[in-house]
Amino acid sequence: MFYDIVIVGGGLAGLRAAIAAHDAGVESVAVISKIHPVRSHSGAAQGGINAALGNHPEGHDDSPERHAYDTIKGSDFLADQDAVEIMTADAPRIIYELEHWGCPFSRFEDGSIAQRPFGGAGFPRTCYGADRTGLYILHTLYEQVVKRNIEVLYERFVTKLAVRDLHCAGVVVQNLHSGEFEAIGAKTVIFATGGSGRVYSVNTTNSHSSTGLGVAIPYWAGIPLKDMEFIQFHPTGLDGSSILMTEGCRGEGGYLLNNKGERFMKNYVSEKIMELGPRDIVARSMQTEINEGRGFEDRYLQLDLRHLGAEKIMERLPGIRDIAMNFRNVDPIKEPIPVHPAMHYTMGGIDCDKNGQTVIDGFYAAGECACVSVHGSNRLGGNSLLETVVFGARAGKHAAGQVEGMSSTPDEEALNSALKAEKDRFKMLRETDGTENPYDIKNELARIMMDKIGIFRSQTDMESAVDEIKRLRERYEHIRAIPDTGKFNYDFLWVTEIAGNIDTALAIASGAAARTESRGSHFHLEHKKRNDEEWLKHSMYTFKDGAPEISYKSVTVGKYEPEERKY
């Protein structure tokens, strides 16, 4: 198999990249995913997607410039300002395009796309479809892929990149339907594999599929990662399962309450902002309340929607009500929802530029697995969906512009060598006489990450996390053998994912331990202030001898000089 462009991942970024590549005239495009595209975790996004459309009565003065400023301030000035400006300028066009393709956004009375307030934003600019915005955009994009007859190879599990002489020749997959390993050659590979939340196991809003392997595979192949220490904790994960309770709950007017019944956010931000602070600040405030004994069962706080009334809850937040009832036996119309902060988003990822290009020729990244960077050290709600479609489209289009001049002969040597490596690894995993349960390692890893690389981080904790993860890495060498089930060998799949979990986690922990300042989502207990003089720079991670080698890269500062971040 050989394609002009192979896209790995069928969520928003991947599908949008495929459509862009196809529409730029490339016929030979394939989307490869370990799950069917409509199963992608983009579909679980709820609250909305940002664009300065100015449809909201209070949003008439909004503009892409204001959107850019809010995003840069939200990022604690670590975002590259030129990339942010591209994203916010392109936002209205790309939202209208989704709407023209049939995306069922909610509507204002005048028939325009409805918008709601979100955290850290100066205007209500988050376009939404009830609380199922991700589901609607994902299905709309998949519909456009069907319309264009773009090839989709689903349940193909990518395990390795074929790279030679700084050029990417394709990928190796295990075809779950046959159990066979296959090399898929490509002039260009675009990774759009999503987030790494499962590094924190059940303490994340992310799906089982969001493991970090999509970040680890290029990292293993020599492509640097960037800003991995910045992990977003969403303020409102449902108690128990950590399922996302959208920021839209607060955007629609929901309150956060402690065990004294207080709207405690007034003690942390201005009364004008209250619950709609940016996520890093709200999550820290909540964790402080819990740590200081003002939580419930020392574990959670309350998200109170009751005053919104049944009608508004049913119309704007029906999915939230379903989830709260199904998974926590709480009806938000009658009772507050128990919530706590939960790992939600990886601001960092595969280092790439504004077109998704990386240091390896023929290899691109887009979406949550990528780090352009537009989110810096803290992403604003509603900007992740925007990033996927804007930069997915840019990567697809840019890659399409490059394929003509590229060789149409597959690099058989690189592909065969990568294929052989994967077959050998499988054989080794089949025949090993180890005894460790790989899932114990996964759970232990999640405990370390939650306890030591959480919302508040101390130097001792972070350094011990690095040591402990290194020990887990050694234990992984001694895992028990996997079964040979032929088709749909999920044990092999998850065991491979765990290898990705470990090295992604090691990068996160090492970068966190190295950064002796507090910025955005990274709060260092011994260095509580931001330190622009020493740390206004991106962390870069290169995989070397089983561990990350950390270096730094400058931030593109534009017209917005870093200032103290106040809300």
Binding site: G43, A44, P104, Y136, S207, D322, F488, Y490
Partner: protein
């Protein structure tokens, strides 16, 4: 403690399909999906089942649980009385254990042109759609393509040419969308013996839908619209 009886079958080996029993030390709030993961991670790594979001939105884990098609992630073990019997979705070839071949399911979905068709000029901004117009496609747009309706449909048990409740619900989603102008073309395509008129109005799909959608009602509405279109002379050749 809970007992899981899980359907096991690998067509490639010469074993007979069987139920395998597993004992699970469950907790009060364990879902059936979490139970399956417990088995995979601690008891039997050969068990195959699909899953992803674990919150009822990706549609991966639709299966037959204690007599009904449900999402494993949304089903509490305690609600099943701590005795859980799991089979794969019906009417599709079993690949292994709880994993079925969804090809006919997605093929039928693709046949109905599941995308907005609007031949008019594209506006600079959005197509205007009033909240009332948008409300007409409420619910229809919430389908997660999990396949529970497909598995429950007795017509599909004997006739795989039938488009199925998921595909027909999607047809109404576009017919009812004020921005779509291909309603009669869509109705003509489904007003056939393998489309809406193949539905016997048994209501299984409505009963099992994990998202509380109503494919049976949608098919009923399509039938009315098709008959009306035919009487008004707007519905030309059907089945094309």
């Amino acid at each position: 403690m809970a007992i899981f009886k899980v359907f096991r079958y690998n067509p490639e080996s010469y074993e007979i399909a069987r139920f395998q029993e597993y004992e699970i030390p469950d907790t009060e709030s364990m879902t059936v999906l979490e139970g399956l993961y417990y088995i995979l991670e601690n008891i039997d790594p050969t068990l195959a089942f699909r899953s992803s979001c674990r919150e009822g939105v990706c549609g991966s884990c639709a299966m037959h649980i204690n007599g009904e098609y449900r999402l494993a992630c949304e089903t509490q073990v305690s609600d099943m009385g701590h005795n859980v019997t799991i089979r794969p979705l019906a009417h599709m070839k079993i690949i292994r254990d709880l994993v079925v071949d969804l090809t006919p399911f997605f093929d039928n979905y693709e046949k109905i042109k599941p995308y907005l068709i609007n031949s008019g000029p594209v506006p600079d901004k959005e197509f205007k759609q009033s909240p009332k117009e948008r409300k007409r496609i409420d619910h229809h747009v919430d389908c997660i393509l999990c396949g529970a309706c497909y598995g429950s449909c007795p017509v599909l048990a004997t006739d795989s040419a039938y488009l199925g409740p998921h595909a027909l619900l999607k047809v109404l989603r576009f017919v009812d969308d004020s921005r779509d102008d291909a309603a009669y073309e869509r109705l003509a395509y489904v007003a056939t013996d393998y489309g809406i008129f193949r539905c016997h109005t048994i209501f299984n799909c409505q009963q099992v839908c994990p998202k509380d959608l109503d494919p049976t009602g949608a098919i009923g509405k399509l039938k009315m619209k098709a008959v009306k279109g035919k009487l008004l002379g707007k519905l030309k050749k059907t089945g094309t």
